[in-house]
Symmetry: C2
Subunit: 259 residues, 2 copies
Amino acid sequence: MSTTKSSRDSAGIRSADRTLAILDAVGSAPDGLTAAELAHALALSPATTYRLLATLQEHDYLVRSRESRYILGRAVDELGRAVRAQIIATPDARRVLSGMRDAARAPAYLTVFRGDDIAVAHVADSAQHPRIGQLHVGFAESAHITAFGKIMLAEKDAASLSRYLDRHGARALTAHTITNEAALREQLDEVRALQIATEVEEYMPKLACIAAPVRGRSGRTIGAVSVSTTAEDFASRAHDLERIVRRGAWHVASASPGI
Amino acid sequence: MSTTKSSRDSAGIRSADRTLAILDAVGSAPDGLTAAELAHALALSPATTYRLLATLQEHDYLVRSRESRYILGRAVDELGRAVRAQIIATPDARRVLSGMRDAARAPAYLTVFRGDDIAVAHVADSAQHPRIGQLHVGFAESAHITAFGKIMLAEKDAASLSRYLDRHGARALTAHTITNEAALREQLDEVRALQIATEVEEYMPKLACIAAPVRGRSGRTIGAVSVSTTAEDFASRAHDLERIVRRGAWHVASASPGI
DNA sequence: GCAAGATTCTCACGATGTGCGAAACACAAT
DNA sequence: ATTGTGTTTCGCACATCGTGAGAATCTTGC
């Protein structure tokens, strides 16, 4: 019945905690929740629940549907657009990506760090070269099985990496997916050494991907560029594609102001 | 400098109010905000600001970038996806829309009420019949200049309509856009009478749209279906398209469980 | 090394959010 | 209509929780 299992109190301002917990709970219920369900899930008194809900409604974060169920409102949609607007790459960087796509004859991706997480900042695809899967601008899941994810995980220190893997788990998507954490760490060493990451049929059968790090002025990796193609094509053009992503990474870095 | 002008205290739980105000402020700043900027914009003490920010960070709603600017985090992206998942039409309804698109040889839309607002629940387009403008699943802007918007505004009572127009204004997008509120109210009477709404070049030059209301069991309008085409095409096929949207609206209603 | 911010800490006050219980309301079933 | 069940609001008294001020500490730029 309860939608979330996390009930440990995270230290913080209590009402703020509860406000966000309500948003999370309503968001993860496909049809929304009733006030009673929320009160039960968060162990709140009915009165408090209604007061918080009223506040959320006033800000248009929640709306009540027929049957008095609370569902997400307009303000959440606007925030969702805002986060994508904040993540999306600059026009200059997007231009570089388009050039990569044309050179590689394959869709090109730019990913960046966003706190401890990884976000897709742009996808340069086209009708001839469609993007893989459901990859859109926004935060990325299952980074451990993509080439760009390996680049970015390789940048993390041991503690941060462990935290990330704990949170996102290591679901296997194909027979080639690396689920063994030790094997993954070893591969990340290789990534650090070569400054390049590849992935062949780990994310999706018949598909391969290669990525290079984008390094800021300070030398730190601030993101990754990558292209994806068929496993077959990758086998014959690996060296070409590697040069394309390395060059692309450099161009993106020079097109990025500051940092 | 300040990002929002709304500073009147909406009655509500204060910390919750402030939490949401912070999210709104950060969301409407393209590059995020610093703690000091936020403290100033919301008239908070630094200490309180940091405490609220810490809470928002713990829930992954905010993240701090380089230069210690606060930007929207992973949880916001997830909520954004959740709201779209909650809005999107059922597979049955989507099927109906696809049928309409094929019959009309034009993109078809389904819109629904969401609190006082209007949301796009599905767009059935195709490579041959691309959707107009930047219309995606989510809350819709400028409803007064679209055919589906007129259908739905016609359902509102006078007070609710006024509130809506106050909030969303009446921007003119083309020379044909109706900006006069009296003229709009008159047109909505016509919509109520005919149970059909049209729009010709009010939203975009050379473009026209026709919409019919989707009525629930109780008889109340719960949404609208519409198709858009060129103004030229519309002139010659108006009657056909009207029948298509009327039939489509009925099919969507029967495909919708309950309500 | 110094200075100017930015961030955290400490503390005491009292406003603010809280739960409880009762009351008002909505709505079905009979 | 009438009861009954569940939902939502109200009123109230308490103390928890959030608060601001200011000092202390940590960063950062120069």
